[in-house]
Amino acid sequence: MSEETVLYQKRIQIYPRSVKGRFRNLKTGILVLAYAVYFFLPWLRWERPNAPSQAVLYDLPGRHFYIFGLTVQVQDIFWLAGVLIIFAILLFFVTGLAGRVWCGYFCFQTLWTDLYMMIEHWVQGERPARMRLDKGPWNREKLIKRGGTYALWLLVALWTGFTFTAYWIDAPTLLVDMLLGRAPYAAYFTTLFLTATTFVMAGLAREQVCTYMCPYARFQSAMFDHDTLIISYDQKRGEGTNGRAKLGKGLKTHEERQAQGAGDCVDCGYCVQVCPVGIDIRNGLQYQCISCALCIDACDTIMDNLKWPRGLVSYTSEKALQGQKSTLLKPKTIGYGVILTAATAVLAWSIATRSPYTGTVEQIRQPLYTRLSDGGIRNTYEIKLNNKLTAPMVVSIRIEGLPGATLDMDGMEQLELAPQERIKLLARVQIPPVQAGQGSAEHDKVTFVIAPLEGAKSDPVRRQVPFYVPEGGQ
């Protein structure tokens, strides 16, 4: 070791050049679509009787998630677990098949960084101009251009933060309240926190997030196999027998180069300049690579200009690079596909068959039973009812399966539930005196039947619960 060992280094600034091409268009398309959804969804209205009219609203104080026609109750929150499981499997499935598609096209870090780079490009100009500006002294031009960029970034960040907050409170009300300074503290905090993180992550940190912070970036690589689609440089074609060479005297045409043993790579460096994480794809697959495919667009542009075939940098797989055939239908892929389909089907079934209300019955165990003055036995139960609809409903409660038993709920055997009302009721079940020696087997269970009468159509909920009779009825 001649040079001194450096354990920490200054970050190397990246100035990505812009590029045009198929993948750039695809990325821009996804960006526009994703932003359209994210930024406009909170403003979409949805008529609901007796409930907020925002199409997508996560109402935490009211304990309800409104998603278009679906109202998610607290007890249905396990659907969220289902959604997360599906997303996780989807990530495994896609990554095994086509590599870091998530990173390259859909991740919000990629999307916001992309937008911030577009703003930067629009205000400060192309790569050389930005490098010049960065190196140059703090003069008027630099002040205006840098300041303008930051101001625009901040605006985007602020609107991003506000939009996120608007998913949790009625958006129009929130906007007015925030402007008038009377919104809840949490709304300001959330908005400003997201403003700060958006500005820092998308404007300043950028590829550092993917390289040093993001755990997904690291473990996605572990899901690769030899058939996974990767972005790769065609080593054989690009390097030829004598390595890559710039277009120079005697190395202009394809034939001249072939004769000299030079590869098709003209070493223009365009693929390196467009890379948002600052790597050279010709060095092979690297963990920094987010598979954004911009280097493919860059190389294709050069190849088109030279009228040589495209594909020197392309989507391929390790097997294809070695001249073998890639198979996409492998047990791993099929397995992920099956699990993904099953998980989605279960979630869809669970949501489709959700009941308009819930009713649970629990035996009160203290005291376990009460002897009445006529010698009869009483057990008490707590019934929890929840109207999941945004409309009122009438529910009736009766019992069956216990000979001679009567139900006493102080006249609340039939009651109207207000929209989204949750209530706990007390139910007393009593049986006439049980003779000594009479088996307690037929007296050990009672079934509550909770049926909707008005406002909802559904099969009655049946709950079988224990009924306790002391030994021999005594």
Binding site: T5, Y8, Q286, Q322, Q366, P367, D410, K424, Q474
Partner: protein, 318 residues
């Protein structure tokens, strides 16, 4: 990843090593961290030091550093019964007290309390929402003040404390009466008949009492007992009534039902056992053993009202 990729152009040595070598040739790659990462690490150290000042942290001898952060909460002084604002260094216990205070200030809860206090008993029992509230708050009040004797579920202890979950009420089962019982307290009393009645009379009365609730069949002895019960010798009917169903104004027991508050008849197997237990009880009577304390002044009137409704629904709300 770049290590096992075939088309890598990285030459050996392109990545710097730390300069150490083990076993002759084992070396360690040096991939320098960005400097901002180092600053983040220093930042966490600064955070930790600030935390020590703000929150309870280091042990010092018998005590510990309490931290600068304080919590405000309202507490009721046990001696004077007055609410007072307190300030305490942050810990999970003071945080809990603050949270509890906030819960009591909860608008929904306060509104419901006002609604229940303004409503009549009959209005409360017909309203599912108010009853839900009464059961929720009443459970806490009952647990704090009544459960020590009557049990967590109000089931009482036979021979000691009345069962509040059955449908027999010594002092009347309407909510007005229950409220009165809680406010004023009660004193259960039955004279000792051991000195008044002769042993054979005691035995006859006992036989009669057992026939009242169907524990024994009428016999000559029980007919003699009936005369003592209904006549001037025993005079039992003064308190228990001519029909032996008890008088709520006296707090006397109904002897015709299946409920035994003091002598645990259902737990006894043989008729002899039952008879002996009742004989002993009648001879001894009840004196200064069945006392319900006065709660007026110890509990807020509002709380007593809530408890009256709660106890009423425990016992079947009839």
């Amino acid at each position: 990843m770049s290590d096992n990729t075939q088309n890598t152009q990285q030459k050996p040595g392109a990545v710097q090593t730390t300069g150490h070598a083990w076993d002759g040739d084992l070396q360690e790659y040096n991939n320098p961290l960005p400097r901002w990462w180092l600053w983040c690490f220093y930042g966490t150290a600064v955070f930790a030091i600030l935390y020590w000042f703000m929150y309870p942290s280091w042990p010092v001898g018998d005590t510990w550093l309490k931290g600068l952060k304080v919590v405000d909460y309202v507490t009721v002084d046990k001696a004077t019964g007055k609410e007072q604002q307190k300030e305490f260094r942050w810990n999970t216990r003071s945080q809990l007290l603050e949270d509890m205070g906030e819960a009591a200030d909860n608008k929904q809860r306060k509104d419901m309390l006002i609604k229940v206090q303004a409503a009549s008993f009959d209005q409360i029992v017909k309203d599912p929402k108010m009853m839900e509230f009464v059961r929720s708050v009443g459970k806490g009040l009952f647990g704090d003040n009544c459960a020590a004797c009557h049990g967590r579920g109000g089931q009482g202890v036979v021979g000691m404390y009345p069962n509040l979950t059955d449908d027999a009420w010594l002092w009347g089962g309407h909510m007005d009466k229950i409220q009165e019982t809680i406010s004023q307290g009660r004193r259960g009393f039955m004279p000792a008949f051991g000195a008044v009645l002769k042993p054979d009379q005691l035995s006859d009365v006992t036989d009669y009492v057992l026939t009242l609730s169907g524990e024994a069949k009428p016999s000559e002895a029980s007919d003699r007992g009936k005369e003592i019960f209904q006549g001037q010798i025993g005079g039992c009917y003064y308190c228990h009534g001519a029909d032996a169903k008890g008088l709520p104004s006296q707090g006397s027991a109904n002897l015709t039902d299946k409920i035994w508050e003091i002598v645990n008849i259902p737990a006894m197997k043989t008729p002899q056992e039952k008879k002996k237990a009742i004989e002993e009880f009648v001879a001894k009577g009840v004196n200064n053993t069945r006392i319900m304390p006065t709660w007026k002044g110890r509990l807020k009137d509002d709380d007593i009202k809530l408890l009256a409704v709660y106890v009423h629904q425990l016992g079947g709300a009839k």
